[in-house]
């Protein structure tokens, strides 16, 4: 057998997603119109937050999690989405003239990607001189030092907009609440469902779960990235289909537990 038993359904789902990607990404490349997307209020809130930061002469803070630089784990997609958001916020700050402080995750291997993205944002907007390397902050390993560092930064330098998108463990409850108490506008979200509650409770505008991926695509203003949301939708309908077929077959007596194990 060419395919390992126990991965048949995985492969079918992957093929569906690859086929959908091929179809919709080509459509996007040809410049064809893609279906419209519902609004995510938190995206507009980012712009509002940058504006408020400039008015109050306070910096914009961006954080992707104390452990948000995972490049070779199962959470790598979330890291890439956080980088997409960094790309957006650095451009926005460069364009509008706000100071951006990036609180980097402890994974040193992710630093080159983070610095390159932040710097690129300022270059793209034609303001490379505004980029300050010292505003990329590093705090060592663990949420303890990261939470303290970010809180200290809020207190000393002030907080206008506090945007937190990426992989979050137990590091966000302190940074989000402290930003809130110190008068910042909190916008953020994570794809790790277990921590979404902190964002839902502490943020003024939240990206609920999967919305961070959609937001990462929308802010890129790149049709290829945006087509990703439609591809996800295809995946969701395939999931509905599998659940429906599974329920029908189970109802007529088939052993779906065994069938799904293939």
């Amino acid at each position: 057998m060419m395919i390992r038993i126990g991965t048949y359904f995985d492969l079918i789902l992957l093929i569906v997603l690859v086929a959908a990607s091929w179809y919709y990404m080509n459509k996007a490349l040809r410049g064809e119109k893609l279906p419209g997307l519902r609004k995510i209020p938190a995206i507009d809130a980012i712009m509002e937050g940058v504006g408020r930061s400039i008015e109050a002469n306070k910096p914009v803070h961006y954080a992707m999690g104390a452990s948000g630089g995972q490049l070779y784990s199962t959470l790598v997609s979330m890291t890439l989405t956080a980088i997409a958001m960094l790309r957006h916020i650095s451009r926005l700050c460069a364009r509008l003239g706000a100071r951006l402080i990036v609180h980097m995750p402890y994974q040193a291997e992710s630093i080159p990607l983070i610095e390159a993205t932040a710097r690129e944002g300022y270059l793209e907007e034609g303001k490379p001189e505004m980029f300050r390397l010292e505003d990329l902050r590093y705090y060592g390993q663990g949420s303890l030092t990261w939470s303290q560092g970010i809180t200290s930064s809020f207190a000393q330098e002030g907080v206008g907009l506090n945007l937190e998108v990426g992989i979050f463990y137990s590091d966000c409850p302190i940074s989000l609440e402290m930003a809130k108490i110190m008068g910042g506008l909190n916008v953020g979200g994570t794809g790790r469902w277990i921590m979404v509650y902190a964002f839902a409770m502490m943020c003024d505008y939240v990206f609920l779960g999967e919305e961070i991926y959609a937001a990462g695509a929308i802010v890129s203003e790149n049709p290829l990235m945006m087509s990703g949301i439609i591809i996800e939708e295809v995946g969701k309908f395939f999931v509905f289909l599998l659940i429906a077929i599974g329920l029908i077959l189970a109802a007529i007596g088939l052993d779906m537990g065994t069938i799904f194990s293939y």
Binding site: M1, M25, G191, L224
Partner: protein, 211 residues
Amino acid sequence: MSFTRRELPTIILTACGVLMLLAFFTPFVAFTTIKGTLTAWTIVISATSTWLGFAYMSYAQYRMLQRNPVLTQKIYFVTPFAFFLLFLVVGVSFPGDVSSPQYLWLLSSIYQQVGATVYAVMFFTLASSAYRTFTVASTEAVALLLGGTIYMLRQIPLFPAFAPWLVPLGEWILLVPNVGGGRGAVICAALAALVVGIRTLWGREITMVEV
């Protein structure tokens, strides 16, 4: 130049990803071996790059001192380096290195204590956010309030002792509606992660291509 800066890294990325997938989907030992090798490589690559963090921290500290060269700032500047050296020296000077009693003493006296305290502080930050948001303002807020309060009380020994029904109810919340909602969330986030993954392997993820 563009090839070495853009196309070649993308080709390497795609090749690594595809090899890992072949190891997953096919039963061939060769791919499993390659997967093992690549996995070991990632650990070495990331471990080797560790000092980058130190470099960025040092630069930020130096610039902050430059901007504000007062005595307190000088103390704040010296402190991280002093503790860095302290940990480093203790960590390599005694037999057993990082497993030596001396290093473990440092870890348990400082690292463990601060770590535990930061988590402890979160009790308060979550409490104040609950005070703000756990209101009966809408159906959703009531669901949040009920789910949160009942499961919290279930975990506090006093309440189930007086109200035994809290145990089955708390577990029902955990195992039924929480699983239902959580499962939907997990599936959606997983689909989105897969789409990002496929796009990246395709060489179309701008975050990887543009920089």
